[in-house]
Symmetry: C2
Subunit: 308 residues, 2 copies
């Protein structure tokens, strides 16, 4: 049998909850729109209360939109902090779920959780340093460095790095309310929509939008490569469903690096270096399960007196 875990994919648009232990053992999935914090959290608790009557859960993992407080020593651990989503500033998300269900709760960003799921079951198996970037309405990035999820003072906010923007070639001012033409402001789905006046999904594969999009994505990936030296970069999110982007992004990244970084994974195997996420629409829930599993592993190691 093995242990079962609960998972919450907490998104700004919808929440998804599920129960399982791995990709081929995922059950009892439920989705509902993100409304007020009180109502949304109540639905999460209700779902897992019902599930727990059928089989006991070992822990719950929450993969959340952000920014969030992931520091276990902080008084606001488990909170969504400065989210631009109305009503969701300074909201304790993990606390009420932990208390209502009396279960250990793991909590991290949606992108770190997805990265961890890709490490467990997807495109990052066997690696110890890699990046996961989702290009959807916004751009978010997470990852694993030397075997550990990226945290630091807060957590990565990769979408808000600054990249070159040639305003003659692309007069669009950028869509980020905080930074204008940061990476997300130039290359996220909402930027594509605002620049070209239509949702990215509807633009044909040969539309000039994709050449420009690949250019911006390659600039951001180049910066991630120079900063983190990842062993692989995994791209997910709605915009990357335009699979014609992958060869363009790979080519432009190689051009930008200009053979300065002589890593065979990059120079000789770019097709296996910049790759699509493998877990698809289940990435969020699997991310939650991966977080719960990782918490268990760390707790067991600590119990055995090993240094982490």
């Amino acid at each position: 049998m093995g242990k079962r875990f609960g998972a919450v994919e907490a998104g700004g648009t919808k929440f998804v909850c599920g129960v399982g232990a791995r990709p081929d053992d995922l059950r009892a999935r439920i989705e509902f729109p993100t409304t007020s914090p009180a109502e949304t959290i109540a639905r999460v608790v209700e779902f897992f209360t019902e599930q727990a009557k059928r089989e006991s859960l070992a822990a719950i993992g929450i993969a959340s939109f952000g920014p969030i407080d992931v520091n276990p020593r902080s008084p606001h651990f488990g909170y969504i902090t400065t989210s631009p989503k109305p009503g969701w500033q300074n909201v304790d998300l993990a606390g009420p779920i932990r208390r209502a269900l009396d279960l250990p709760v793991a909590f991290d960003t949606d992108v770190n959780a997805a990265a961890l799921a890709e490490l467990c079951w997807g495109a990052a198996r066997g690696l110890d340093t890699f990046v996961y970037v989702t290009v959807g309405t916004g751009i978010g990035g997470g990852g694993v460095v030397s075997g550990r999820l990226m945290h630091g003072a807060l957590h990565p906010e990769m979408g808000h790095m600054r990249i070159p923007h040639d305003r003659q070639a692309d007069p669009f001012a950028g869509a980020c309310p905080f930074h204008g033409d940061c990476w997300e402001g130039l290359a996220a789905g909402s930027a594509i929509e605002a620049r070209w006046g239509g949702r990215g999904q509807r633009l044909p594969e040969n539309h000039q939008a994709w050449e420009l999009e690949a250019h911006y994505l390659a600039l951001g990936l180049t910066n991630l490569i120079c900063t983190l030296s990842p062993q692989r970069i995994i791209l997910g999110g709605g915009v990357m469903k335009q699979t014609a982007l992958f060869p363009l992004v790979r080519r432009k990244t190689l051009e930008l690096l200009n053979r300065y970084i002589q890593v065979t994974e990059i120079i000789d195997h770019i097709d296996e270096y910049i790759v699509p996420a493998l877990l698809g629409d289940n990435a969020g829930v699997l991310g939650g399960i991966a977080l719960a599993l990782e918490m268990e592993r760390a707790t067991n190691e600590a119990a055995w007196g090993k240094h982490s």
Copy 2:
């Protein structure tokens, strides 16, 4: 007494060797210019052979210019790989020293070594995720993430990230032979010299060069903050001897972040967040000693059967 370690600061212009165990125990320092690999390495070996007659050394740490191969499983571990320095491509630096002296040798980039020294004795004490950036002839960056030196597929090459470049405000094309106007190409000492026609040290504190320099440095630091979420950023190198840069860089970084990342270390304590390196001219040799100490610690842990 305690153990003594040998340290090599291998730079493109000069090599520095020393013996010691910490900042207040640093002896027998020698400097010589970097000539051919054979001659330079012979001088290193000669120095430590003499030292070892007086007191036994436990290990040697080499803090090297790069790019280098830091993967212990690679057949070229310990090599300088694609350095633009004539004669220094594909040079085995660590191997001959290890064999001649029959000592364990730790090997990493000069910036990772300096970061580790700042962690042991300097501006990064007590942190587990921070970045060290040196702004000298070039720009290099290293650091520690979750307590471990940054590696990955290779090692960071932070100086080569791309940042916005307003060619109307600054028509200088950039000085990087690989990327033109990458971070290093716009903001390293050689770029300052080429743009303003004089060495940075000679430009007065109120010269417009510093405002522009601070702007570029802040752009790079903003990207490092968004990517790594460091708990602190330490700046060293010759250009940062112009201490008037620090308040400018802090202010511009805050402006660029625009309160999006609500981390109290940044928003409320920027003076302690972006700080000068503390170890000064001994950073290189102390970096080598820190690398040797860290190797010892890891070896001892492994010997005790702990998981790393």
